[in-house]
Symmetry: C2
Subunit: 397 residues, 2 copies
């Protein structure tokens, strides 16, 4: 008997009616002769609402308690889906993280799954039960509830598929992975398949279809992940090991408006100021993404880097209290514009083609970083749509 792990996102279980629709889809898989595990997110905006309540009490709620609070959202959906299935005549059982348990390491609000104990799941399979698991949550070394970061239910699902040796299906409110966000580029094409690496780049660059760590885990254990719409029968996208197609250097394009560029001028290289600043920023768990540094002039350099806009104030105060590094400029008019494709490894000229398109369209590039399969440019937000459309057209996305 095959094992299928299905994950349904918050919008797919947002109402009682939607939970009943999900139950019907789950039953279909069960009746096809599979062992079925269903991972659920919190209903609709539940997680945001819980966070808002916490923040109405204090702007900076304690993270242990915030995790305990947020984890209730998935418990609610899990028990509701289970009782829906039972009311429809199919034996089902819901489990929270502590009931399996799903153990985790790492800080509150961004823990990593360490292991999943599968005994209770196997017992339930043997009883013919459909197993419903509250996503997003785990139990840390202290026996406390912790969460895996927003979108963490995807990771719960992939980890379960890896542990149980099953197929992983992610059902959401989009019907697959597109070359470009269809809201920005309506002619965008749905991909039949995409490689783990490309999907990881796209996820971390702002394509919010999948939790990045879920894709990472899929690659690590080579679990193909099928992404499709929870309420349509259209064909979705497989995230899996894919050979590069030589005629297609770029698989997808992602944009992200959430970062700002901080520029520090005339830093004395000899004073080790740069290392000090980056260390202080890292201590605050702030993610620096793009970095570019000018060549030294008189032993001084200028440096620019991007950080999430919400972290600007902390960065400013770190820099303000650092010797030899006071003159800074902050640019919030930033869109990170990225093209991704494993085909770049073999195809040359992708960068020059990209920059020519941007130049021909009067789009100024503020910063650039590249990896083996990705080129990211920081551009002005007012150029975003033009950049997406011209680049998508030219690269036939």
């Amino acid at each position: 008997m095959g094992t299928i792990v299905q994950k349904y996102g918050g919008s797919s279980v947002g109402t009682a009616d939607k939970i009943i629709s999900v139950a019907k889809r789950v039953i279909k898989k069960k009746l096809e002769g599979n062992n079925v595990v269903v991972v659920v997110s919190a209903m609709g905006d539940t997680t945001d609402d819980l966070i808002a309540t916490a923040k109405s009490i204090t702007p900076d709620p304690d993270k242990r308690e915030l995790d305990a609070l947020m984890s209730t959202g998935e418990m609610i959906s899990a028990s509701l889906l289970s009782l829906a299935l039972k009311s429809m005549g199919h034996d089902a059982i819901s489990y929270t993280a502590y009931q399996l348990p799903i153990s985790a390491t790492g800080a509150h609000c961004k823990s990593f799954i360490a292991d999943i104990e599968k005994d209770r799941i196997i017992d339930s399979f043997n009883k013919g039960q459909i197993v419903i698991i509250a996503g997003f949550q785990a139990i840390n070394e202290e026996g406390d509830i912790t969460t895996l970061g927003r979108g963490g239910s995807d990771t719960t699902a992939v980890a379960l598929a890896a542990k149980l040796g099953g197929i992983c299906e992610i059902y959401t409110d989009v019907d697959g992975i597109y070359t470009v966000d269809p809201r920005l580029f309506p002619k965008s094409k749905k991909l039949e398949e995409i490689s783990f690496e490309e999907m990881m780049e796209l996820s971390s660059l702002g394509a919010q279809v999948m939790h990045t760590r879920a894709v990472e885990l899929g690659e690590k254990y080579n679990i193909p992940i099928y992404v499709s719409h929870s309420n349509k029968d259209t064909k979705g996208t497989f995230i899996k090991e894919v050979e590069a197609m030589e005629d297609k250097p770029i698989t997808g394009l992602a944009v992200n408006d959430s970062d700002a560029i901080i520029t520090i001028k005339n830093i004395e290289l000899s004073a080790n100021t740069l290392a000090y600043i980056f260390e202080k920023i890292a201590e605050q768990k702030i993610n620096i993404d793009m970095i570019s540094q000018t060549a030294p002039v008189n032993g001084n350099v200028n440096i620019s880097f991007t950080v999430p806009k919400e972290d600007i104030e902390i960065c400013k105060s770190i820099i303000d209290t650092t010797e030899h590094a006071s003159l800074i400029k902050i640019d919030e008019d930033v869109t990170k514009f990225s093209v991704v494709g494993i085909g770049m490894r073999s195809a040359s000229g992708v960068a020059s083609k990209l920059f020519k398109i941007l130049y021909d369209n009067n789009i100024q590039v503020k910063m650039v970083t590249t990896s083996e399969i990705r080129i990211t440019c920081a551009i002005s937000q007012s150029d975003k749509l033009k950049a997406v459309q011209t680049v998508a057209e030219e690269f036939e996305l």
Copy 2:
């Protein structure tokens, strides 16, 4: 250092502002030099809302899943109160039932606390932490979440006070125990103290201030329970071991409109029909309260008993399918009217005085049952207010 277990009901933690008010009261007790444990109910109508969602999926939701669902309400309040306390500069920590654990036996939705593991609480005390515990929930032998019945957080609080050797304070939306519900009899007096037995009778008769099992547990472990308003500094009521006051035969009065009287006529005593009916009703976990039987005539008897109105249909079908017992009458116009007092043990003439008051006021008594410290009459609902007022006046309640 003394230990205080405080319990705050749903209306006392119904909003973020109310949670902050509760936090201030908790901090006060902590600063007075106590170890403080706080048991919380679900915010406002959360439990009802969760049940309504479940029932919008299926009218008869599976009880294991319903327990898992309902238990989230208390987890939410517990983490919110804890993060409120921390934001106010006082170290606090929330625990769910499984984190201690609080273990339970018995059926879902009406389990009994079997034991509470106090190690984590003591550890937290040693760290100077205020301990917040999600009420109403426990973990059963299967490792599943179960609940203690509506109002069960009271029981969680008393059990914790018993286990920790502390004082128990129940904070709610009334400022103590009154001789009569003040909505029915505004001149009603607040009691300084009431005995466990009297409170148990009053609770089970419909005075909804306290969970009956909480009072039972208080008596068993002799834990005085202080009941007071969560948001006023008025003096509340102690539920404790009390000597009867000879001049006061009646301590309180309770009314309850939720039962109906079922009457079965001409039952053949020889056929053992009665035992059969009561057994079938008990199998359905239906609580029969008052029972009265006429003297046999020609080997036949008439019997009347009260059951909750919601169980009428089940009882009807049991009786309809029973031989020798088909002729039944159902009276839904019933108020159970009870007077309670340990003083009745030594004072004679309470019953005759009560019946004289009812008779003088043209109140027809449909059924009567008595215990050592209680007299309950079934009367018509239209006589309820008159009965409450005249009896409360005459007995100076």
